[in-house]
Symmetry: D2
Subunit: 369 residues, 4 copies
């Protein structure tokens, strides 16, 4: 059944396989009058693009995005925005092994069991390549947030294997291939990844995304809570195995007196809630973290079965990311931006004209507190 759309008011529908002619999608529900050109989308696509350092897959894709509809004279029209990205580097290779054997931990198996077949070229639909479409749509959502409420969405690498940044300098985040905000950690990251590549193994990572400048009131309890929709969107990214908001799993061992975010007229005194309480935004920064597993496409041999159900060994060759988390930051930003823009529009529909009895409490506490 159809499951390739996300959002309710602002709906993104994605299409495309790793080695088909193109990938892309349709973003439906974008308000009219938002300034938009392809130049607004390309930077995020470039940030996600492969082959930009020796630490990611060497597949070469310019990921040039085209807007096919929904924009007229530099402004959105309110009609669907179609986004198209052609696949260029579909290096012909021998798929006989992957087509016959299942990579353990890879969607090869589950897709085959579900659909009875699959497009096995480069992972087909389950390839991380699909996320380029999300990044393009997310860049439009960022424009919506910027122009409708001045909000901004950013992300960074908060852990890679055993390595955790000890600082967050947003300038640094964009100055290294790891989206790491701690410059001092970059050499260690380089060494770790080089060693990993030699081993032929892969590693997990954690990404943190932050949204600043959102108004309070976004989120539709009890099921389409803002945090629930954020969890859905982030967990829908390839390789993600966990999502947390604010204090997240740390709140399991917290007491209420420590967790609750006290308020003063000058602002909140902390942000353990991560900007969402009762499923509704508070006006503080939205802070979410996601855990990405190590990719299953590694050079180390593993036990598996083939299409005949026979026990076989498999070794994955070809161009793969040893840490899919490295390129996941722009993808996570895109998914968060899509959810927030959708909820901004959802909220306006039901609540236009509604006035709260008091001024919003300032989001004083830093999102990292």
């Amino acid at each position: 059944m159809s499951g390739n759309s996300i959002g309710r008011s602002l709906v993104f529908t994605s299409f495309g396989e790793s080695h088909g002619p193109a990938i892309g999608g349709i973003l439906d529900g974008c308000p009219p009058g938002i300034p938009l050109t392809e130049a607004d989308l390309q930077p995020d696509l470039d940030r996600r693009a492969p082959g930009q350092s020796r630490h990611t897959t060497q597949r070469r894709e310019p990921d040039q995005v085209r807007i096919l509809s929904g924009v007229f004279e530099g402004l959105t029209t309110g009609t669907p925005i179609a986004l198209l990205i052609e696949n260029l580097d579909q290096r012909s290779k021998d798929y006989s092994e992957i087509s016959q054997r299942f990579r353990p931990g890879h969607a090869d198996y589950s897709y085959t069991m579900k659909y009875g077949q699959r497009d096995y070229r480069g992972g087909g639909r389950s390839s991380a390549r699909e996320t380029a479409s999300r990044v393009a749509a997310g860049a439009v959502a960022k424009q919506v947030l910027k122009h409708l409420c001045g909000a901004r969405v950013r992300g960074y690498l908060s852990q890679l294997g055993p390595l955790r940044p000890q600082a967050l300098d947003w300038e640094q985040v964009h100055a290294n291939p790891f989206f790491c905000g701690d410059a001092s950690l970059v050499p260690e990251l380089e060494d770790f990844m080089d060693a990993l590549r030699k081993e032929g193994d892969s590693i997990g990572a954690e990404i943190t995304v932050v949204a600043e400048g959102l108004p309070p009131g976004l989120g539709e309890p009890v099921f389409d809570r803002l945090d629930a929709d954020i969890a859905h969107a982030l967990m829908s990214i390839n390789a993600v195995k966990g999502v947390e908001i604010g204090a997240g799993f740390a709140s399991v061992s917290q007491k209420g007196s420590a967790h609750r975010d006290e308020m003063t007229p000058a602002g909140f005194l902390s942000n353990h809630a991560g900007g969402v309480i009762g499923g509704i935004s508070t006006g503080q920064d939205i802070v979410a973290r996601l855990a990405l597993k190590p990719t299953s496409s590694i050079r180390l041999p593993g036990r598996t079965v083939d299409l005949n159900g026979q026990a076989v060994e498999i070794v994955t060759k070809g161009r793969h990311d040893p840490c899919v988390g490295i390129r996941a930051t722009p993808i996570a930003e895109a998914m968060l931006a899509l959810v927030l823009a959708d909820h901004l529009l959802r909220h306006r529909g039901q609540n236009a004209g509604v006035k709260a009895p008091l001024e919003a409490v300032p989001a004083q506490a830093s999102s990292e507190e």
Copy 2:
């Protein structure tokens, strides 16, 4: 905008406030011919009900559920199943403080900012009382899973504050008020909760839910992935701040050679995936964990603002759960069951008649491995 429905093929829509005449909901899309009576639902409602031990709120609610439609002569008819639970113990109390001041960390504030007003009696719509409706609907979903594919959903407390069970004995889970599978830990849990109650503070908890016996193939990539929908459903539960599937956040520091679940004709050799790969079930146990924050309704005074935006101090009196996690197990089971039953029906619609080229690999590895 409407946000009180969950599911696509099997849709549950919830209604009700803590101190209104009743709560309940409508479950639409249940297949016809499933045996169903109120007696199938009551046990789960009783497991969630308050006032069953000194460690939960002392509000007394029998939580008697009535089925108003969709069942004829003991079988579901395929038409909507309406579920009604009357609110009986709405002890009249003085709400003047809560109606004027915002409990820090409570949805009081975000609801007021969103809607410009709120039903402040006992938390209104944001009250955990709403979850009784979910448990009733989830019990129907459990019947659907049982009768259509023989699957079972169960859960247990996997952490409370600093205390972690070291064993899982399913018999024990139902033998103590904590849903703890480790009998030896129960006295410590009792002592911890007694001390906490004296302090007037609250504590967080972690719940683990497991689904056994599901077929492979459930989940609709790329957005309605099974894991993404599970994350959405579990994060939609009051006080949940984090969700993880399988290895979850532990996979951040894992290598691919350790994380991947190898397969042999005899079965999977591990289940770090938690039963979902590429957003599709593999046939192994589905294993998900959720982190619940400590409730914000505590007796210790806190700084906050009132309806005029003035700085005030607040102390929450009345009947509150010092650990909402204690009663969360049946709720988490219900949400997982709803997602799985929905996806079972979704999958059948598109894939009825589709045959995989090989037999499913047995789900040999234990879900706890």
Copy 3:
């Protein structure tokens, strides 16, 4: 699969069978702050209620509606509004014939073929009784329209069998059991219905519904066009076989020069469009007509088959409407109101703040032109 909800921003989900304990539904997405009490809903329910004249079924149902949630201190809160109507007059009768034989033209057959069984008591879910829930929800939608944009929805009988009113006096519409705006036709309608009842036959009817005071801009092309959603909502009413907007089927033989509604600064010069062009409201009156077939529950014997597929004859006894169209006017109003309120909220979400370059052209032309 679930199909008992209608609307996107304002969603109504209906439940209930003719002879179950109750019928009702949940209206989700209603904006907060709308004045609402049960007294606002009862009048429309009374207009639909059976047994008010000898021309409708003699089943006696007070159709007392209760609001179970979503309203606090006389105002909607923005949370789901649950509506409950108990079934009181479930006269015990002998269903052996109806349970074994299919009334030709009745949903008996299609329900049984779809679900493999059915609740045959009084038609079960397919009974017109279900429409009482729609009328209650539609009355809430009328409040939304009234308070958010001052719009009003009204309807009348525009044909019954061969009889067509020649005038429309809104006062008269509510002064006779037929919702007929032409007082001079009422005696003929009485005689026609008396004769029909003697025959034991039934008759079709046409209803016209009109919405005044709507702003331009409602409707979401290309699929959720306002006219398409109106057609969906009206065709979803029991026994409806046709829907038209504005000139409708008459436009088949019109020329463009005659059909187009010319505009002047003083207003539109006609309303053949029925208030919708390109799927979007123009600000003129919305005018829609629906054709209702004659009910299939008649006393005249008919050929059919039984549960064993054998040829049998059937005669329907019991209390049935000889013209379901008579009571359909409040139902059609309710469905139109639900669609319009939903689209008003949908439009606001995407277009809040959007300004048209010119003032709206006045809706000068009468809706009946």
Copy 4:
């Protein structure tokens, strides 16, 4: 708010403007294993294409469709099917008049009032050009129906202005540019259209679509009834002002004894229901009719207003269809096919394995009776 998707299990999302680079859409939810190539889609696109006779717009578009995803080795994979049609003949013209003045009866006005602006080139999103995407998606839906249940969808012109075919020869339908099943009427149609073109006026039309070979049981009461969804889909086609199923508006003056379709073990004795009762298919032919208004783009001068709200006269030049109904047959077929394929999948999800107590009654009566 997003409104460019249709369907629940099989969802089609459309994009594109008349004079943008391309139009197309994404069809999500198509079952895997359905044979599909571009050659299966092109014939329907060619039937709809403009410029094939002197009676339609002379815009020249090959309407070559490309499948960008969802098909592998000639079979659908179960992943989204992206369809792309490039716009080639975007003859540069002077839009100054249309951009400043509103064509009476045209979506110019309503789009501008809704979005505050519009892409005025060739009607932009409101252009009938958008329907080419629908035809491509509908052709896929026809494949789904053919391969899953052997059903077929066909249509024909049942009226053009005052002219009604007196016969239906399916061979003839495809032998003339009018989709007219009565060869003897074609010369009259030619003459009528020639005269109309000289006048510079336009005319309405009625199309009938028929689906044969569907199983009973499709449709999800009470709102997503099969007839309601058909009405929605057909009314969503440009210029459609009315939709009826089976006897439609004729049933207003029918008696129940005449309307009801009696059943015998040999089959139904008539089909006034048009194949749908209680919102569920009966297994008889689905028969629906739609009324198309005369296009508003005519050469005869008309009164309107300009962007400044001033009274002006307008004359539409350029290439326009004098009867949009002529090319509407393939579009109506496509929309019906999309609804039926969607409901076939929806039904399977909830009812897979459900057995009716008796064999289906044969659909003996002709769909034209």
